[in-house]
Structure formats: C-alpha cells, structure tokens
Symmetry: C2
Subunit: 106 residues, 2 copies
DNA sequence: CGCCTGTATCGACAGACATCGAAACAAGAT
DNA sequence: ATCTTGTTTCGATGTCTGTCGATACAGGCG
C-alpha cells in the first residue's frame, strides 16, 4: 500500500471487505466465530450475545459471507460458519506494510 | 480476536476505523498519502487522481482524520496529511491473529 | 486593503444500510 | 402428513453516507 498507490479495482475490492468489518455487530460475530471451539459456530450460538433480532444476525452473516470473510455450510438442522483466514491475512498484510515502511522510510 | 470475543466497546471503536477504510476513494487516498514522497502529501496532490469534486475529497480526508488514521497540519498555504502508523498497525494485528491461530488450532 | 489560490464547511439530495416483523424454506420428530 | 425448531428471505422504514454546488475561511501577494 505504501509502495505504490492502490489501483481503482484493487481499492474497490478491498473496500468491500473493509465495509463488511465496519459494523460492530459483524466484528463481534467474526470474533465469536473465530474464538469458538473448533473454529466454527452455528447460528444458534451467535444470536444470544446480541440485542438484535435473529433475522438481523442472519443478515450480517450474509454480508460477511458475501465479502468472502467467512464460509458456511448446513449440517442437518444447523448452519455452521467459520472464518476464512486468507481473507483476513490479505487485509492484515495491506495494513501492516505502511507501519513498517514508514519507519524504514523515515 | 480469536482468543476471546470482542467486547462491545472495543468492537465499536474498531468498527469506526474499519468504516473509514470501507470506501474505495478513502483507501486510495490513504495509499496515495502513504506512498507519497516524505510520507505526507498536501491536498492539492490528492485531488487530481480522482473524478470527484474537491469538497468530496476534503470530506473523505476528514473522515480519515476523525477515525485517527491520518494526521494533518497547515503549513502556510497548503494543508498536509500523513498516515498514523500505530492505528493501521492496531488493525493489522487484530486481523493477523486469526489466520495464525487458525493454523495452530487446526 | 482587496484579490487570488487552496482548503473546509454548509445545505440538499439520491442511494445505501441496519433493523424489524412476517413469511418462506429446511430438516428432524411425532 | 403434520408439527416444531432453526435459518433465510422479503418488504417496509428510518437513518446514514457520498456527492455536489455554493459559500466561507485562511494565507500569501499586489
């Protein structure tokens, strides 16, 4: 990011992912999923901690899924969600560079 | 993030920073500033690359500033902006953990 | 002082988003 | 088949956001 200006396309794709992280409920959902035993959680585990309705949680999960941050699968009665580490790593790397490079560049 | 669920307050603060990154123009602005010679750029350097009006750029810079991602200062005629590396490092660390931990946890 | 350039703020508007209740869909149990 | 529980989709609504033009503010220069 610090080496050369972001292109329009790259910026558009990345902004979609950051937008998915721009809601406190979605951040907490992601954290809940990531920190859940086995690295995955069913929707029923994710409703309790929040004060919003269940359809709203489902909506937020859909946003995370469409942003490519989580995967999901139905197993019998329940639907399970898990974090896609590559996606987060991509964002992390993008943000990490400037801090390091800024010190190097001075 | 993967160790324990994000608290409400932490999620709220982080989501504000991610929200600032959730717009393609703001991402490109940040990248332009970070990659600019000397690590800082004046607004006049930042208007040309975009198809939006100057007030819109000014608005986006304000969003980045209020999110704590960039600093700014007026020097004579021009206003200069620079990236605040600690803020980006904070977000980067948050996103980096799950990827690493996911592999460790299996 | 008045003028010009660079930047920020204001007011307005269209489009996007978070949220809800209701309803649809999926799958197991009776 | 019918019921029940878990989850998603739909439609509506109020709020937020990106954008613009117009305008205000700041500072250098005649």
């Amino acid at each position: 990011m610090v080496r050369e200006p972001l292109g329009e396309e790259a910026a558009a794709e990345l902004s979609r992912m950051f937008k998915a992280l721009s809601d406190p409920i979605r951040l907490r959902l992601l954290s809940l999923i990531a920190s859940h035993e086995g690295g995955e959680a069913c929707v029923c585990d994710l409703i309790g901690p929040f004060d919003v309705s269940q359809p709203t949680i489902s909506h937020h999960l859909k946003v995370l899924r469409e942003a490519g941050l989580v995967g999901s699968e139905r197993r019998g009665t329940w639907v399970y969600y898990w974090v896609l580490p590559e996606a987060l790593a991509k964002l992390s790397a993008l943000l990490q560079t400037p801090a390091v490079a800024a010190k190097a560049t001075g």
